[in-house]
């Protein structure tokens, strides 16, 4: 089809301002690092009011527990039980949390608090420190839990 010659290339600066999406393999994770210990402090200060200090029981979504429940009559979907990729945790917390001030955390703080949420789910030891490499290396329990859409699946 016809090309109209409309528009212009986006500038590097324009791209950089909004270039925050992280892939599932973590190749786009930024520099920086944060410890689970620091993550606990960030979480207590900025997350626990909604999510509860152990990641459950608040008005925000439950972030921990539920492993092994997915096939049950009362599945509990959390970061630990349901999320397939750890880098997505960095992506989502950086872009959307804390809900009252999204995109306000430093990358270091995002690494730290992501680590703390993993720790709450038994997926990182107390003394862990996360950066691009180590976060990408976490294998989430439900990593292989997703299947392609087979619909139409209900025959009349």
């Amino acid at each position: 089809a016809e090309r109209f010659g409309i528009g212009r290339p986006a500038t590097e600066a324009e791209i950089a301002a909004w270039n925050i999406d992280i892939d599932r393999d973590g190749r786009k994770l930024p520099p920086g690092h944060g410890s689970v210990a620091h993550g606990r402090a960030v979480f207590e200060a900025q997350c626990a009011s909604c999510h509860g200090s152990r990641g459950e029981g608040g008005t925000g979504e439950r972030l921990a527990g539920g492993q092994g429940t997915l096939a049950s009559a009362k599945p509990i979907k959390t970061v630990g039980s349901f999320w397939p990729y750890a880098p997505t945790l960095f992506d989502y917390i950086r872009r959307a949390m804390p809900m009252n001030a999204p995109q306000s955390l430093s990358d270091d703080d995002v690494y730290a608090v992501s680590g703390y949420v993993l720790h709450l789910n038994g997926l990182a030891p107390e003394d862990a420190v996360f950066d691009a490499h180590s976060l990408a290396a976490v294998r989430m329990p439900n990593r292989d839990g997703f299947v392609p859409d087979p619909r139409p699946d209900v025959k009349p």
């Binding site: 090309r3 999406d21 997915l70 599945p75 979907k77 999320w83 997505t88 997703f146 619909r151």
Partner: protein, 288 residues
């Protein structure tokens, strides 16, 4: 997407299309007991959307051969991110700036939003600030933790985009009351897979089904009204509609649907809605 605030009308070739837009949780599997038609499938709308084909914009920009997905990102507080398969982007995907002939309202994504005809509503990203063409989907939280359908075996279906054929009788429907005698049964049907081919209506609890009349024009991926004249003899009964789309797909019963998917998949429930009519003419949800 360097400057989406630039008024697009006049400076880009535009199109207008009438399409439905529906929440993928319309209704949830728990909400199937709702009292009214609106309780059950109120999270759907139909409007005329005006904008530029995404394909036109991608063509102007130029695509590399490895381009398989376009990741759309909103300028909302959560910078909502969804990945769109390139096939949809080059087919009927739109970047829209107007709804029903007026500029988008703030709540509808002003100045520009994605519009994906027939796909679950969440993917039609509002306040669009960025389109990132890539070889892979983003696997964002909204396409892993959310908008995936949990099956009884604990696996979850992913990239379940199309809203399958659905219909509901809106008159008579739950909380209404009818008198013996002539009634025109009417309701709406729609499918994310194209046009509605037929809507069948039962007035005897599913023993027999009759073709309803479809209101012209029957548009692609748009709400389609159906009507059937009916004389109620005053005996308790159950009425229901089922949609059949141009692919031959038949809207399933709740029993058939949940036999395959269980009760925990939350999204993409398109089951038939039966209305029970009591001897006094009260209409109520046949599942409740």
């Amino acid at each position: 997407m360097a400057n989406p605030a630039t008024p697009w009308f006049g400076s880009h070739p535009s199109e207008s299309h009438i399409h439905f837009l529906e929440c993928s949780g319309n209704p949830g599997f728990e909400a199937i007991k709702g009292k009214t038609a609106s309780d059950l499938v109120g999270l759907v709308s139909c409007a005329e959307w005006t904008g530029v084909r995404l394909a036109t914009v991608l063509r102007e920009a130029g695509l590399k051969p490895e381009a398989r997905w376009v990741v759309a990102e909103g300028a909302d507080a959560a910078a909502m991110t969804r990945s769109i398969p390139i096939e949809k982007c080059l087919d009927d995907a739109l970047l829209v700036y107007s709804q029903n002939g007026e500029r988008l309202r703030p709540q509808q994504g002003y100045p520009l939003r994605v519009f994906l005809p027939g796909f679950e509503g969440n993917m039609s990203v509002k306040w669009l600030r960025r389109l990132n063409v890539s070889a892979e989907p983003a696997y964002s939280r909204e396409e892993t933790a959310k908008y995936t359908d949990l099956m009884p075996d604990g696996t979850a279906r992913q990239f379940t985009f199309v809203m399958e054929a659905k219909s509901i009788i809106t008159r008579p429907s739950g909380t209404q009351r009818i008198a013996q005698g002539f009634h025109e049964i009417t309701g709406i049907a729609w499918t994310g897979r194209g046009r509605i081919r037929a809507v069948q209506v039962t007035t005897d609890g599913g023993r027999s089904w009759r073709d309803a009349a479809l209101q012209e024009p029957v548009l692609n991926r748009a709400l389609t009204r159906f009507r059937l004249p009916w004389t109620w003899d005053g005996q308790p009964t159950t009425i229901a509609s089922r949609a059949i789309d141009e692919t031959g797909y038949v809207q399933p019963s709740f029993e058939d649907l949940t036999a395959v998917r269980g009760l925990k998949s939350f999204y993409h429930n398109n089951a038939v809605v039966p209305w029970r009519i009591a001897a006094d003419g009260e209409v109520a949800n046949g599942y409740a």
